[in-house]
Amino acid sequence: MSAWFTPWVLAALAAAPEGQIAYVSGTEQQDQRVCVLDLATGEGRPVGVGASDGAPAWSPDGARIAYHSKADPGLVIRVVNADGSGDMALPHQYGWNHHPQWSTDGCGRAVCKNKICGRYLLYTAEEGSGLDSRIMVYDTQSQTESPWAGGREGMMRPVWLPTLDLTRAKHLEEITWEGVDTPALMQELESVGGVLAVGVAQAETLLSTEVLLATASQAVPLLRLLTEESERYVEWAITPDRDAHRIAFESNDGGNREIFVLHKKGLTNVTNHRAADWNPVWGPSGEWLAFESFREGRQGVYRVFPDTALVLKVDASPDYSAWHPVWSPDSQWILYVSTGSGDPELYVTEVQTGDRRRLTNHVGIDDAPAWRPEVRQ
């Protein structure tokens, strides 16, 4: 072996993303199917039913995958085991059910802190016209579906609030708000848990959206409660960090779409660029956010350190698009979709080195990837 072939080089050569990735693959919308890619072998296998399957979401223990799929008519939430067995469709009250997420209390950490980790599936349900969407919660233990937020209409894309640290730090129970019993709200949050969701608001004569905090019986405008944020801005893509100490979302506050972070001390625009900035995704450590931006002319993937608003490019080019960033469980890699080779394919970039690798090579679309959570006992 030559002298340059040092252990450091060996280590660098050995660096490779590990684990499994669920994603959607197909040649057209109708045949899109949830698949699982094993990074050790490079082999992908279908696990979804293949009927316009939507973005997969891993359960916090990495055992199951939830996704939406075409029904006749509408969309149904399905749950399948990671090996493709046990596929089942949830029973629904409404026709169009989509974008499932799992409850994640304490998950992503060493162990689940309590029993309800991964117990609930949250999703949007609607009749398929107008803005009548609701938040529905399916309890996988009792196998029952219930509307949350008191059945309020105009709510969508719920995500679980993993802890109440931020709401406690902001003394939510001491805030008075017309029509809201905040002490009762906090009590319900403490006993069952809560979700963050996008809510449609009527600002003057126009529609708007805002960040809502919801329990089974209530929904309150979180930003208006905790900050001076007006309801006239249009907010979207809400995501709390692992411990819910900070909540990222996008807003058109400031003239174009930017990523904001709500934290104990207030609200910060962490991107602040004349190009649109979209879809924030917290890294597992809660230090960095990956996001999409058009600052090089086309959709690209970047990361930002919110404490200083330092932005670094992950993969962006005027010649192709890159989107849907996802962090590896060890924070070492960012997984995303790119059209660099023509069709949308999955790629990973090593965060520290910028080393980019293509993971799929398939005629058609490979999109909406989700990295399987690490299961640590």
């Binding site: 979207w236 058109n252 086309r298 023509g342 909406a368």
Partner: protein
């Protein structure tokens, strides 16, 4: 025998023969043979280029090719600067000669031994007027047998009326075919090619049969300029989930920003309501609202309450179905865009 022999022989053919066979297959798939797009992808007669002499337009092809404009017996050779594009395609910037006369042209692409020609792909105009008339058709449902006359006869009459009008261009907002089959798209093209003005199409829910729409017309999301105005076509797909998978959301953002400086920015699609993909709505109606949105799907006009997108200021015009004999003329003026009453 041919299929059997070809299949058997493929593995033992030399590489050059295989490439020749693939090349012949591409010719067979050209627009002029069965109606599907072949070597020449864009522009085409559902997404033409409208240009002035001395200006440029962009072509996308499967291979580098010699390009010419064809009109009657005249042939106008075109200069092209080629660049490789993702997906094993080529993008060329084409210069239109200053001596080219106004009118509708077929675009011919020639490679070694193969030729692809698309009718009505390029329209040369001497000038873009500040005031012009736009025709809006939708829901042609070619192939439908639910009417007293054949669908192509009814839609042909609508196109004759557009030809007789002062319209400078026409938008056809989806449900072009009744079941989205190749045969119906081919029939639709035959009717469309009787239109004397440039025609821009987008897909509807009835057109969504595999990749048939893309095979006949190319991209479902695109933008173009007509003089000082910008137009943007998009696909509402399976509605509430339209913004989840694929490239459209990112493309819409780029295209919307690109036409933002224009006098008017106008979107056209098959269907709109507030439950459609939210990302597209944020891009088109919230962050940089389009001035106008044209669509169909409802087979009726919009009411006064439906005349504006609920997110903001984008004004709406919904045209009843062309399969019912309807179309609308729209005046595009310096101060505003005026929707004339629906014609039948």
């Amino acid at each position: 025998m041919k299929d059997e022999g070809g299949k058997k022989g493929l593995t033992s053919w030399p590489k050059s023969m295989l490439l020749l066979w693939l090349g012949l297959a591409a010719v067979a798939a050209a627009r002029e043979d069965d109606g599907r797009l072949g070597l020449l992808r864009t522009p085409n007669n559902g997404m033409p280029a409208i240009v002035q002499p001395g200006s440029t337009f962009v072509v996308e092809t499967l291979e580098k090719a010699e390009l010419s404009l064809l009109r009657d017996s005249a042939r106008v050779p075109l200069g092209v600067t080629w660049k490789e594009a993702p997906g094993s395609r080529f993008r060329g910037e084409v210069s239109v000669p200053t001596h080219a006369s106004a009118g509708a042209y077929a675009l011919e692409a020639k490679t070694n031994g193969s030729t692809d020609t698309t009718a009505r792909a390029v329209f040369i105009v001497d000038a873009f007027p500040d005031y012009y008339v736009l025709a809006h058709l939708s829901d042609t449902h070619i192939g439908s047998d639910r009417h007293a006359q054949a669908s192509e006869v009814i839609v042909g009459q609508v196109i004759s009326a557009v030809n007789a009008s002062e319209a400078s261009l026409a938008l056809v907002t989806g449900d072009l075919a009744d079941q989205g089959t190749p045969e119906q798209f081919q029939k639709f093209l035959e009717v469309l090619d009787t239109c004397r003005v440039p025609t821009f199409v987008c897909p509807g829910n009835h057109d969504r049969e595999g990749q048939n729409y893309e095979n006949y017309f190319g991209p479902v999301t695109y933008s173009f300029l007509y003089g000082r105005d910008g137009y943007l076509a998009f696909d509402t797909k399976d509605f509430v989930i339209a913004d989840e998978v694929g490239t459209q959301d990112g493309e819409l953002q780029v295209m919307r920003r690109a036409i933002k400086p224009q006098r008017w920015s106008m979107g056209f699609t098959h269907r709109y309501d507030a439950s459609m993909g939210m990302r597209a709505q944020l891009t088109l109606f919230v962050d940089d609202p389009l001035d106008y949105l044209f669509f169909g799907h409802w087979h009726r006009e919009n009411t006064a309450e439906e005349a504006i997108v609920p997110w903001g200021t984008t004004k709406v015009s919904v045209v009843p179905a062309a399969i019912d004999g309807a179309y609308r003329l729209i005046d595009v003026t310096e101060s505003r865009v005026l929707f004339r009453p629906v014609q039948r």
